[in-house]
Subunit: 403 residues, 2 copies
């Protein structure tokens, strides 16, 4: 059951937002994935409520499609994921789109490309500058990737395409509340990433929190409380994540605790307390270890994939009358890319950066991309852009251009 008819490979949506890839290349129809599993059924609908006692889902139709009012289950696996949170300022989202959903990534793509178009047409220098100032909020992997990609777009891809402006004069600012980028990585790799970003022309504003966002820019505040105003028509949001609202719902239904990020605390076997028939997994959960302590797990795809496999195994084991040991995350490492031939990799203590890390990043992302055809297409897109800095998918479509 999903609201959308496709699986989206979220680690690459930022590449759609910067015109490097097309939506169809990182998304794959759910029905095509599950075609051969004759007992798997795909339904397009939204879960509006869960009745854990009667084991029933209440459904809401999406996109004008008819939907059955309810659906019974024996075992329920909920993996609603997470979304960006605007620290209680949802009104900021209008001016600071995120790049997690495909639609939002397309909006960002239209805004970034539209900003250069606007600058080309704006004759007033003072009014031109905010169009060429790009602010990325949050220096986690997505924020770093976005800043790097916008820098490459401005410095290389668009070079020579304008007549009134030089896109290389674009300013790219990366705002981060912590004192370093990529806080989930060891400090040495953060430093390498920071150097790579600066070499690409990204200005780092570390130790700053965003206190306001509006149509004309952002205001940031440092540790001492001093504020600074940045005039910008392009703010991209990549900070702060909040769990799907299904987590809170499961918490209230079952008495499971929820943390500040809205994640529900599940048992060591990923089920809800005293509800062995309800699993929750992925970005929307925290896992209680066998010792009672919460296990610190990153909100990444590898965790969700392993949890998905684990939940399926528990169901199979139960049907066979076997028990399953608690979920254990096998950390295969942490990757983030900064730009062309530049990435950092923390592989169980082995720290890599530069070209080698980037090649590993490339292979891993191609490997996990769903659909052989998509792998071939993305590989070709990447090969072209490696050699000529080109970005083929630079279309302004839909509701673009800013306000």
């Amino acid at each position: 059951m999903d609201r959308r008819n496709f699986h989206l490979f979220q680690p690459l949506t930022y590449q759609v937002a910067t015109g490097a890839l097309s939506p169809g290349e990182i998304a794959y129809p759910l029905r095509a994935i599950l075609k051969r599993h004759r007992r798997a059924r795909v339904l397009l609908a939204e879960v509006s409520d869960i009745d854990v006692d009667r084991r029933e889902l209440q459904l809401r139709s999406v996109d004008g499609l008819p939907a059955p009012p309810s659906l019974g289950y024996d075992t329920l696996i909920v993996s609603g994921g997470s979304q960006y949170s605007y620290f209680g300022h949802d009104e900021w989202s209008e001016h600071a789109a995120e790049v997690k959903s495909l639609e939002s990534a397309l909006t960002v793509r239209g805004r970034i490309l539209g900003a250069f178009e606007a600058a080309e047409m704006e004759r007033d220098r003072a009014r031109r500058a905010p169009w060429l100032t790009f602010v990325v909020v949050g220096a986690g992997p997505t924020g770093v990737e976005m800043a790097g990609q916008i820098a490459e777009l401005a410095r290389h891809t668009l070079r020579g395409e304008f007549r009134s402006i030089d896109p290389r004069n674009g300013r790219i600012l990366l705002v981060e509340a912590a004192d370093r980028v990529l806080t989930s990585f060891p400090e040495s790799l953060s430093r390498r990433a920071a150097t790579s970003l600066e070499r690409l022309g990204v200005t780092l504003l570390l130790g700053r929190t965003v206190v306001s966002v509006d149509r004309d820019g952002v205001t940031v505040q440092d540790h001492d409380g001093a504020t600074e105003r940045i005039a910008s028509r392009n703010v991209v949001w990549a900070a702060g994540v909040t769990a799907s609202s299904l987590a809170a719902k499961l918490g209230s239904l079952t008495g499971a605790a929820c943390d500040r990020a809205g994640r529900v605390l599940v048992e060591p076997d990923l089920t809800l307390p005293e509800r062995p028939d309800v699993f929750a997994l992925g970005d929307m959960v925290q896992v209680r270890g066998s010792d009672g302590q919460t296990v610190a797990l990153p909100g990444t795809a590898p965790v969700a994939i392993q949890q998905g496999r684990y939940a399926a195994k528990v169901v199979r084991d139960r049907l066979r009358g076997r028990s399953t040991p608690s979920f254990r995350y096998r950390d295969k490492g942490n990757l983030a890319t900064i730009g062309r031939a530049s990435a950092v990799a923390d592989l169980r203590g082995l720290k890599l950066s530069g070209l080698l890390a980037w090649l590993i990043w490339l292979v891993v992302h191609l490997w996990y991309l769903v659909g052989f055809q998509n792998r071939v297409l993305v590989f070709i897109r990447w090969s072209f852009s490696y050699f000529n800095h080109g970005r083929g998918a630079r279309l302004i479509t839909g509701e673009p251009g800013g306000e």
Copy 2:
């Protein structure tokens, strides 16, 4: 000057509408095309008015971008193209989208795929049927291609992906006012195309005009005035074309005549009467021959391409003080595809159909696609779908699903 930042290869938008290709694969950024032509400038704006005496364009901004209020010219070349016309019933467009623009093609894609989803969820047989009934209005090349693609989608691509319905039971109806499909082709090829369509499972409703379209279906009327109601939640419009409103504007400014389809009549050198500094070309014009008679030219890409080259040559010749002979269209032939390995080709009297015609269609369309990368990507998509009937770009995005 264009409203959009990309060149769209319109002959393939119908493949976007049926999930065979991604938008980015048939569109190419204008700036990238003209990058190396240092004296060419691209501006994103809409022409709101033309002052032919003062040689000035009045501009309107698009997508919230700033735009200069006006722009002077020495020579103006207008090629505004055409759009589908709903025979004075613009209200039909809400329920019968066309596939000429990229956005509209994406809307159609969402509706076609959404219809199968709706049918899968609809338990009531009577209410399910209209979701699985697809009506294509107009049996020109686009209508034939759409009907063929929907049939392949239903019969092959989606086969085995649903559990409550069999997509192969979908009905695809092709409505045409004339007594044969592809009226721009010789009769023998129309017959071959009709046979191919019927083999794919398309029902031809020839000699029928559409008299109404609403959310629940269409009403068609035959030559004897008898009407028939077809319950359908999926109507695709591919009938009747009207020239860009710029044609009427040029007509009223210069006294040039416009025909019923809104096309302005231009001189043998593609300029407007007594306005040698204003060219008009493409789908929005009719050309007066040297003998004073109107030359019958199809509204196709080859005509527009040759006219574009011709206008450029006239401008160059003038700068060199040379005169240019009148425009002459070199008809290289006419191609239309019906489905996999099936097409018709009328090449200066040489009539081909089947696999050979399809291979010619394939090569020609790859050849004219702008951007080497796009050619490679489209070739790969087509190769995959030839062998496994797959369609990689089957996403329901934006405002999909019908009403």
